[in-house]
């Protein structure tokens, strides 16, 4: 059964408690109507439930989340998927700053643009690899301090003058990979990354993840794959290893 919650005037603490209590009783699907800035939706939930958010969720959506799927039929605010461990977040719009901070696993699909410091300090361990795909463009410091994970920027529907990512792209990066559909200006790159051409394995991986992305948002995979991608990798696994005296 689907549990519908009308979020009009509902304080986040009460709303999230309703969800947590219902999950404990075995509820698996929720639809939040008229969401209007309620924070922490899906926070710390370990069960594989589904939450559909109609309206704009507040900050720290899916923070510490560990299993659920969240579909947002609007924009997401700042701090979505903060330190998320597992599950999926699908946003049919833009997402704000610090998207996927310290993300440890799971998938994040954003239809349009993302803010500053996207994917900062994402991590990975063996098969647990977080993925962020944004259909639009990203702000400054995208992929900062990345220690793992996959970050894909598509730059769809952007103006001619709009760069696909802001300044300091991949600055401090020491693990993981960023794929970008299009070119980036050398001067926007962090000192710790280099640009490479994706190989066959990369293209296979891109196709796999992008076909899921296209399914969610109704984009044409062939159309997306027509344009060449570039791949950013950290130059060194120890970017700051030589700053110190012995």
């Amino acid at each position: 059964m689907v549990r519908r919650i009308d979020c009009t005037g509902l304080y986040y603490r009460k709303q999230n408690k309703i969800i947590r209590d219902a999950v404990k009783k075995g509820e698996t699907e929720f639809i939040l109507e008229n969401a209007n800035g309620q924070r922490y939706i899906g926070n710390g939930i370990n069960e594989k439930i589904k939450i559909t958010v109609n309206g704009v969720p507040g900050n720290d959506l899916a923070m510490f989340m560990n299993g659920p799927t969240i579909i947002v039929n609007a924009n997401a605010q700042d701090g979505a998927a903060n330190t998320m461990n597992a599950g999926e977040v699908i946003v049919h719009g833009n997402a704000g700053d610090v998207l996927g901070y310290g993300m440890r696993g799971g998938k994040l699909y954003i239809k349009e643009n993302v803010g500053y410091r996207t994917g900062i300090h994402m991590k990975e361990y063996k098969k647990q690899v977080p993925i962020i795909i944004a259909g639009g463009v990203a702000g400054d410091f995208c992929g900062e301090y990345m220690a793992g994970g996959i970050l894909i920027l598509l730059g769809l529907n952007r103006g001619k003058e709009t760069p696909i990512a802001g300044d300091y792209l991949g600055t401090g990066m020491h693990g993981g990979v960023i794929y970008i559909r299009g070119e980036v200006d050398e001067h926007t790159l962090g000192k710790e990354v280099s640009v490479l051409e994706p190989d066959e394995k990369d293209m296979k991986l891109l196709k796999k993840h992008l076909s899921e992305f296209c399914e969610h948002f109704g984009f044409d995979l062939k159309e997306i794959m027509k344009k060449p991608f570039i791949k950013l990798l950290p130059v060194s696994s120890r970017p700051y290893g030589d700053l110190y005296a012995y």
């Binding site: 926070n43 510490f64 301090y145």
Partner: protein
Amino acid sequence: MTSELPPEFIVKVDHDRCRRCKRCVMSCSFGGMQFTDKVVPEHRNCVACQRCATFCPESAIAITRNELAYKENANWSPETRQNILKQAETGGMLLAGMGNPREYQIIWDHLVIDACQVTNPSIDPLREPMELRTYLGRKPEHLEFSVDANGELELATELAPQVKLDVPIIFAAMSYGAVSLNTHRSLAMAAQKSGSLMNTGEGGLHTDLYPYSENIIVQVASGRFGVHSEYLNTCAMVEIKIGQGAKPGIGGHLPGEKVGEEISKTRMIPVGTDALSPAPHHDIYSIEDLSQLIYAIKEATDYTKPVSVKISAVHNVAAIASGIVRAGADIVTIDGFRGGTGATPMVIRDHVGIPIELALAAVDQRLRDEGIRNNASLICAGGLRSSGDVAKAIALGADATIIGTAALVAIGCRICQKCYTGNCAWGIATQKPELVRRLDPQVGAMRLSNLLTAWSLELKEVLGSLGVNSIESLRGSRERLRGVGLDEQTLKLLGIKPAGIGQ
């Protein structure tokens, strides 16, 4: 370039006593001992960690300073000149471990405690009950009661979650990565045995320690290493680390040498990479943002765990602490400039931050003045060395105290300050399996537990001499302290009178 640095220490081996067992050669993890036909010290590599000397069965080893390597000069100390040479050779920042070792005034040593004589009786703690129990967490402004159907009185006020301590001394945050798993095991077992707490630091919690959850503080720091919903719920409380006394305002940097397979798994970063904790949390740029993280953690723990916020003692600490309490923290932890670290630039460790005594007094007073002192417990850290320091800290306003360096000394640390090399010969600040093995967690736990027992006995003696029977009666009781040799402004900041003045 060949190094022109003279050796800092000279290792003297008494070859008459030496029975050539080579134990010292095996002990030294810094390459300071060779064996040809006899033991030959490599002075240049010696860090004076005393491992070889301690375990020499014949006591044939003595480590001394290389006295005249630098000619005496009151302005140009050997260390100053050594540092210049190192930097001239490498062009690098100087790294340092442990706490600030410089000769700043130690205010604890200028505070003295009161005692009862004649007019009010002291209490004998050996025969009378003496209470050290402490509860950490937000306290209500007042209590409300209701009467149930049977006419029984019951508490109507909903209490915020509290953490019970049997001793007002807990172990400092030291990450798995900076210190070994056997160090974490020792701390966790001792905390459980003594009714205290250990703190994971920012490197996550090894699954082996999950059974000790009731005696563990889990930390959430800017690198978010090892933070997930299970971690947040495997603890007595959660701590947001904003700052550390040894390195206020800068991030963490665990050298790649210390990131092996297990650390890589716990932190989720590649083997051999440096574990980088950004200087700020990138989701906290204001008190409002801090509040957002505090409540994110409360949501993830269903409001069952107190949330602490740890900051380093800096100039504006009182106003910051006030903001932290208003942001919803249940506990504020303040770490003074003597607090330790596994690695930090020396310039930061030695020159940034303020003494914990002043910070503690300022924060406690500010929270009282604003009428919000009950909203949060106050924990102080940063170079506390004895039960005397603990008693003075509690009289200055701390609810509980933290020991880090003292705890490590208890399990073998000789404060050689080379934690950042990963070569710790005592199995503490290292990840090398052959060195980690040297620390037996059972023995470590026993030594730590002994230390807490000993300090508890001493605290009870202090309370007894003060004529009170509970630590609660000493808490924030600055009237029981006096200053010796402190200037007027310092006394005013500490809120105490100079010795010699009565009530």
